[in-house]
């Protein structure tokens, strides 16, 4: 007896238009009903608020950096403060924002709904992941307020052993340890949910590509993060007891620290980008109203990226002292890992081809993603090539590269995803016109900020410096202007979202015309996700989904 044999048509069709009276947001009330909730949707929303606040904090630090760099010397921060500011900017953005952003916030909300289950496999573990994240946040804030961390987000030894900011290093490394376990538990939960809780009819190849991406991400989270855990644990022991494993003074080897660190942190960049790619796959097909091009290629390339990603960490250490052969091997492997990324880009373009593109806010963010991620990915190649990396390493070229992939890629996709699923999560429509304006400002501001940094880097401007040669000043000023533009675009996006809560129209079940399961349940979804069992079909079959003016959204033709 399976659902596939006896498809029920458009579940509870009569309810399609009505705004649900009972949903997960008003299922229960009071602070504790949120703080102790086991509902993945509420946990997802709490994460969403958390990661966005962290992003605002990290963003404030970023603007401080950019304003400081307006003049080539005598900026408004002391050198010591400058070090602390860029360190906290990087550490907050990486560990508190970007890694949990898509999987823990959007993934938590969407995974069970898209899959057609009531919850993730381990709801309690899910809640404890969230509280581990909060603990990590508190530890980071301690590091920030007690003394201020100045090691760079990479915690390289021996500096991290010797710096005067010992308390901050301890707080931050312990924070990273705790956040690591938060991330591991999320990944573990998702893998188990997808493996064991798929309802009948939901075969692997009927899963939305977002779930494939989350699955691949979870594999990395589970396999890479423990190594970071032990690394920062040893680093804490180094600071507390002087165990010497990473300390050259005690015959330890600082390059070992770098190997350990990048063994996690390279795969971690795929923790950041893979879920973003998953979002783009959804956005592309839904807003082009056309089946995704090359479903299997996209699904497999996610897994390929996850696995290849483990083999290239050495490209961060070409100048740190490695055997020549090793550097050549790492360089060659780095090139292979860009292939699956390129496959995805081609597939998205193929999806758009001959599609009916709706140029709304989520789609504009998705288009921005494709453009920016492509630049980011392509500039990774000169960094992966040995001869050019010798010049580019530790310059603004690297800074621009990773901002194009992390901010232009992950953050922009995250925003696209937030706009895309906002009606589902909150039950409110946002002002699409203003949303489009925000997307355009973000796109322009972003390029204005980071394109000049490629030029700066290729001319030799080193990263992490509080002062620079006067000849770099014009480009730096351009970048600073861009960052302020970018900041205002992001602020506008936030305002658009918040305004929708105040005066947004009530959202229909399926505002964009998606075919995945989350659009079958009400907006916002009921406490148990589906009031009756959803029909699992092809997630990218748009043939019988049409616009219905009466409900202001799409309905499935019966």
């Amino acid at each position: 007896m399976s659902v596939v044999d006896r498809p029920i048509t458009a579940p509870v069709h009569s309810e399609v238009d009505s705004y649900p009276e009972h949903h997960f947001l008003n299922h229960s009330k009071g602070f504790l009903s949120w703080a102790l909730t086991l509902d993945h949707k509420r946990i997802g929303l709490m994460y969403l608020v958390g990661v966005m606040s962290s992003f605002a904090l990290g963003g404030a630090f970023a603007l401080m950096i950019r304003i400081h760099l307006w003049n080539f010397k005598d900026g408004w921060l002391s050198n010591q403060t400058y070090n602390q500011v860029f360190t906290l900017h990087g550490a907050i953005m990486v560990f508190l924002f970007i890694i949990p952003s898509v999987p823990a916030a959007l993934g938590n909300f969407l995974l069970p709904v898209m899959l057609g289950t009531k919850d993730v496999a381990f709801p309690r573990l899910n809640l404890s992941s969230f509280y581990l994240w909060v603990t990590g946040l508190i530890l980071f804030l301690t590091a920030l307020s007690v003394t201020g961390l100045d090691t760079g987000w990479t915690f390289y030894t021996p500096y991290s052993i010797e710096t005067q900011q010992g308390g901050a290093v301890l707080a931050a490394t312990f924070g990273v340890f705790v956040l690591g376990f938060s991330s591991i538990f999320t990944g573990l939960n998702f893998i188990v949910t997808i493996n064991t809780m798929r309802p009948p009819g939901m075969t692997w190849f009927r899963m939305p590509l977002f779930l494939w991406a989350i699955y691949a991400t979870s594999i990395i989270q589970v396999l890479a993060t423990p190594v970071l855990g032990i690394t920062v644990l040893l680093l804490s022991a180094e600071r507390l007891l002087g165990i010497g494993i990473f300390d050259p003074k005690l015959n330890g080897d600082p390059v070992t620290f770098q190997h350990f660190f990048w063994f996690y942190s390279h795969p971690a960049v795929y923790i950041m980008i893979l879920p973003a790619m998953g979002i783009i796959s959804e956005l592309m097909s839904v807003h082009c109203h056309k089946g995704i091009f090359g479903y299997r290629m996209i699904a497999y390339s996610s897994i390929a990226i996850a696995l290849f990603g483990f083999l290239v960490w050495g490209h961060h250490m070409f100048t740190s002292g490695m055997a020549d052969v090793t550097t050549i091997v790492f360089s060659a492997l780095t090139f292979t890992v860009s292939i699956p990324s390129a496959i995805k880009v081609f597939n998205w373009l193929g999806t758009m081809y001959q599609g009916t593109v709706s140029l709304n806010t989520p789609m504009l963010y998705a288009l921005a993603f494709i453009f920016l991620f492509t630049i980011g990915g392509l500039t990774g190649l000169p960094l992966g090539a040995l001869s050019t990396d010798m010049h580019f390493h530790d310059t603004y070229f690297v800074v621009a590269h990773f901002h194009y992939v992390m901010m232009g890629g992950t953050l922009v996709a995250f925003l696209g995803g937030v706009f895309h699923w906002w009606p589902k999560m909150t039950g409110r429509m946002f002002n699409d016109k203003l949303g489009i304006v925000s997307a355009i400002i973000v796109f322009v501001g972003f390029n204005l900020t980071f394109l000049p940094q490629f030029v700066l880097g290729s001319r030799g401007m080193p990263r992490r410096y509080a002062t620079y040669l006067p000849e770099f000043q014009p480009l730096h000023q351009l970048s600073t202007i861009g960052s302020i533009t970018l900041g205002s675009g992001l602020l506008l996006a936030l305002i658009v979202l918040l305004m929708s809560l105040v005066n947004g129209k009530k959202a229909p079940r399926n505002p964009w015309g998606g075919a995945t399961l989350e659009w079958m349940c009400s907006s916002p979804p009921p406490h148990d996700n589906f009031s009756s069992a959803p029909t699992v079909g092809d997630p990218y079959d748009f043939s019988n989904i049409e616009y219905d003016g009466r409900v202001g959204g799409y309905v499935k033709r019966t």
């Binding site: 009531k118 939960n189 032990i230 010497g244 494993i245 003074k249 015959n251």
Partner: protein
Amino acid sequence: MTAIQENLAHVVDDHADHHHEHPSWLAHHFDDAEQQYDSGKLGMWLFLVTEVLFFSGMFCAYALYRNRNPEVFEFCSSFLNEKLGAINTGVLLFSSLTMAWAVRAAQLRQHQLLVGMLGATLGCAAIFLGVKAVEYSHKMEIGLLPGKLYVAQLDGAHGPHKGYLEFICTVPAIVTALCAFYAIYAFATKSLFHQRVAGPMLVAGLCFFGGVGLGQYLEAQEEASKGHGGHAAGHEHHAMVDGHVDHGSHEHAAAPESVHAAETKTAAEIAASAATAMGGTPNVYVSPTELKTPNADVNQRSMAGLFFSIYYCMTGVHAIHIIGGMIVITWLIVKAAREEFHEQYFGPVDNVGLYWHLVDFIWIYLFPLLYLIT
């Protein structure tokens, strides 16, 4: 209720339909016992994967530094007491047996046996920790500490007794005392549940001190068997017999810059000179070229310290895992005392069992790597 809904009842989530009732042990979001069991099992295996990777960092560090300074590792590992290590290996292996037996008992609803087996596992874990406490404190007493704290006094003239063992034992002593009070309460109230919980806990507490006693006895025997005077001599004997540290037996001649490693020196002399050297300049820096020389002074304070760093990190993290295991086993004992487990619901016992076998398994690697390989 329509026929279709009937059909779908078990499928996704028709929550309102109480077709098949949800027993209390089945979480509401699972369809059936099998799904719940499979999820728990897969979750535990994934967790074990993360554990292996967590330890792998330290195994890499071990391999790396051993590869660079094999003589340091040989020399230092001769200070570890293989007898105690072997006993602990046996204890852990036995505890894996009792744990596996506990799973069986849970499936067969043999509640009393289940409590007994879990209690036995808990007891073995406590013995392990007791022995470990002796090993740690013994090493700390003679200054075999990690990294920059390493201040070995191998000539036997180590200063006053520093009381590390007493210090380590305070927490277990408090816990055992509490368990004893709890046991008295349980037997006074004649509550079967409390007796079933308190009994194993008290036994485990006592086992810890049994382990300490055993460890001290064997440690003393080891010293006595090595005859006259102090640790250094003891280890000299030890080293000579196994040909460990005898620098004369190295293939390469002593490098000229390594002051202490004259070919004619015996291990005892090396150890003694080491002790002097260690009293002197702290944090001696050894240049990379020196590091590559096989005969670079193995007693360099910091190089030996590195071995002990790795030793304490690996066994310490392992011991933390043992303690974590003891906590969850205690939780299982509580559940078992309430007779919660049966053939449909024994996932927790099974999964904790898996975890316990992994902790055991890691020790099976640690023991030869740290104690045995020469």
